[in-house]
């Protein structure tokens, strides 16, 4: 895990802001992200893809998942121009990136984990 995936400083700010609500925020983000991934994998409608990617990008950026946000941004702006194959590939990349960062958020939930 390197800092090209996650903005660690953003995470530390979130922890400070949320205090005891931090684990709930992480859970919410993870659940939200899963349902969005599901939506992305289900559809080939460029407009829906773009909208879901937009929302996903927003929360990913708020949560410091910088690469995930960048991939979502790409899907949001290029969904209408990409071929179905390219889209499948991009959605797979997004899914992979989410799988990559997920353990970080899981581990952040434990109070023992401090900086």
């Amino acid at each position: 895990m390197t800092d090209t995936h996650i903005d660690r400083e953003a995470l530390s700010v979130l922890r400070d802001v949320m205090e005891e609500g931090y684990p709930e925020l992480l859970d919410t983000f993870l659940a939200d992200s899963e349902s969005r991934l599901g939506e992305l994998q289900k559809t080939s409608d460029a407009k829906v893809l773009s909208e879901v990617a937009h929302s996903f990008k927003g929360s990913a950026s708020n949560m410091g998942a910088v690469r995930l946000a960048a991939l979502c941004q790409e899907l949001e702006s290029d969904a209408k121009d990409k071929s179905p194959a390219e889209i499948v590939k991009l959605v797979a990349e997004i899914s992979g990136e989410f799988a990559e960062v997920r353990p970080v958020y899981e581990s952040e939930k434990h109070p023992a984990h401090t900086h």
């Binding site: 949320m18 925020l25 919410t28 909208e51 929302s55 927003g58 929360s59 708020n62």
Partner: protein, 567 residues
């Protein structure tokens, strides 16, 4: 984060994580938070809870942020409910859509709590500013309504007072804008007990309520003193003193006061600061200017005030025309004044006397291009005495204290004759006798005639034959003023005697003077002639009947009034 005054903030965001994060940040900054997951929920929450500020995601299911923003702005009406769009939108077109939908600012993701706090603060300032502006606007509107209402009430009260007079008399025509009172213009008319008519056209300095406040006391003095039989001089003195006392230094009242006498066929004029009025002699077509010879009312002290009047003879049908400076001071687009010359041109061109007002109005419209609302004009015609029907005075006493058997004598000597008019007092005393009230007009006329005969021809030794023509008429009144000024000795005595007689009673009035008297027999031989300007008023008194007789070589006059049943 420093807490400001807590606001209720609505967060509309479909992403649960972002919503949770944002609510936590905003709550930690000390505000109340309401949350909605889409635009429709947001509008519904806004309707129910009226939050102060909205953080609105642009892209949301069910109803997007643009539509929700439009609806919320419509619901908020004049109140400023700032909407900050939450967006990671990057295209300028999309950002422009946020503003078009009523958005006031943006907040980009990822959220930065310092920037968010600063934006909430800035928007709150804007919101308060708008609220203050609205509050002040409403306050101003309220004050304005209040003022208008006050004016309506003041006008209603004043109209009652002003219309207690005789502006509706058949010989008066006038034109005044409905709110002329609040331009400081004032028009009053009332009958004297003798059936003469007093008319006042006044113009207070200033506009609005300040210009109108002086009108009440002025009207009160005018009506009160006219009804009691006071002449112009006393009424003017009282009005001047009253205004001088109550008005601030920079406020005064230009005024022309007329006494139109149908019996004597004359008009007495005092003009203080008003534009020239005009006496229009119908037969010759001549217009005699009635120029201002005095300072306005309320300027001079009682000692310095000049109550001298001018008297002009009139013929039946002659008209006196008065106007406010709104006519002459009307200016056109290039600030040129209408002026007296143009007014005279209207006079010259006006063929039909009854259309004079319309002609003047038309000329003003032609000159200026629009009508003004501070133009006052009045025209009074001299009628035959028989055509004048003064309204009967109203008495408010119970009638239980009517004195029926008494007599009283007065002697008014030189210094008193100069400045004191005893007639109102004498009349009031006599009107305590209820049986005389029905004849109050005649009683006053006769008393006034006898008194002025005694004073003018007796004490002052004025020659009534002077009054045969208009020039002599003026000379006569000039001499009267001069001699009165110089008066040292002499007296007028008035004896009143009231006795019961059957069911009614009888009043004997005797008036004596210290003058040279006159040849009673020769005067009595003359035919009764009411039309001449001259004659010692003897004609008038004889015409009225009442067993008039003269003794002591004309120095003592006697009349009788009687009544049948006590009123």
């Amino acid at each position: 984060m420093q807490a400001q005054e807590p606001l209720t903030i609505l967060i509309a965001e479909d992403s649960a994580a972002d919503r949770l994060l944002l609510s936590t940040i905003v709550r930690r900054q000390g505000h109340e938070v309401l949350t909605a997951a889409n635009g429709a929920e947001a509008v519904d929450l806004f309707r129910r809870q009226q939050p102060d500020l909205v953080l609105m995601d642009a892209m949301m299911p069910v109803m997007d942020g643009f539509e929700a923003a439009r609806q919320i702005k419509a619901l908020a009406g004049e109140t400023l409910v700032p909407i900050i769009f939450l967006t990671s939108l990057t295209e300028s077109e999309a950002l422009a859509r946020c503003l078009e939908a009523g958005g006031d600012d943006f907040l980009a993701k990822p959220y930065n709590q310092v920037i968010l706090a600063a934006k909430i603060k800035a928007m709150d300032r804007l919101r308060r500013l708008q609220a203050t502006v609205l509050q002040q606007r409403d306050l101003i509107a309220k004050h304005h309504d209040y003022l208008l209402n006050e004016q309506r009430v003041a006008k209603a009260v004043f109209d009652k007072v002003a219309h207690s007079g005789c502006l509706s008399a058949p010989n008066i025509r006038y034109l005044q804008s409905p709110y002329a009172l609040f331009n400081g213009d004032l028009l009053l008319a009332a009958y004297t007990p003798a059936g003469d008519m007093h008319v006042l056209l006044g113009d207070f300095t200033g506009h609005g309520l300040p210009a109108a406040v002086g009108a009440m006391p002025l009207a009160e003095v005018f009506y009160g003193m006219t009804a009691k039989g006071y002449g112009l001089a006393e009424t003017l003195r009282e009005m001047n003193a009253k205004l001088k006392r109550i008005l601030p230094v920079d406020m005064f009242c230009c005024a022309t006061l007329l006494c139109l006498s149908f019996q004597r066929r004359s008009v007495e004029v005092w003009n203080g600061g008003m534009p020239d009025g005009y006496l229009h002699r119908i037969v010759s077509g001549e217009r005699v200017p009635l120029a201002a010879r005095h300072l306005p009312l309320g300027v001079l002290s009682a000692q310095a005030f000049d109550d001298r009047t001018e008297v002009h003879p009139m013929a039946v049908g002659d008209r006196v025309f008065l106007l406010s400076d709104g006519v002459i001071d009307t200016s056109d687009a290039s600030d040129q004044l209408f002026g007296v010359e143009r007014l005279q041109q209207v006079f010259a061109a006006s063929r039909e006397p009854d259309r004079l007002f319309e002609d003047i109005e038309q000329a003003l419209r032609d000159f200026r291009g629009e009508a003004r609302d501070d133009v006052s004009m009045v025209e009074v015609r001299l009628l035959e005495p028989a055509q004048v029907k003064p309204s009967a005075p109203v008495y408010s006493d119970s009638g239980q204290s009517c004195p029926l058997d008494w007599s009283v004598s007065f002697e008014f000597r030189g210094a008193t004759l100069k400045r004191f008019n005893p007639l109102p007092y004498l009349l009031q005393l006599l009107l305590e006798v209820h049986g005389l009230r029905a004849q109050s007009g005649a009683l006053y006329s006769v008393l006034a005639e006898l008194y002025s005969n005694a004073l003018e021809h007796g004490v002052l030794d004025l020659d009534s034959s002077l009054k045969r023509d208009a020039a002599g008429f003026a000379r006569y009144y000039q001499q009267r003023n001069d001699r009165l000024e110089a008066l040292q000795d002499g007296f007028v005595r008035v004896h009143l005697q009231v006795q019961p007689q059957g069911e009614g009673g009888r009043l004997v009035i005797r008036v004596e003077d210290s003058g040279k008297g006159f040849d009673v027999a020769r005067v009595m031989e003359r035919p009764l002639d009411g039309v001449r300007l001259s004659g010692r008023g003897v004609s008038l008194v004889r015409q009225l009947g009442y067993n008039a007789s003269w003794s002591d070589e004309g120095r003592s006059a006697r009349v009788e009034f009687s009544w049948e049943v006590e009123a």
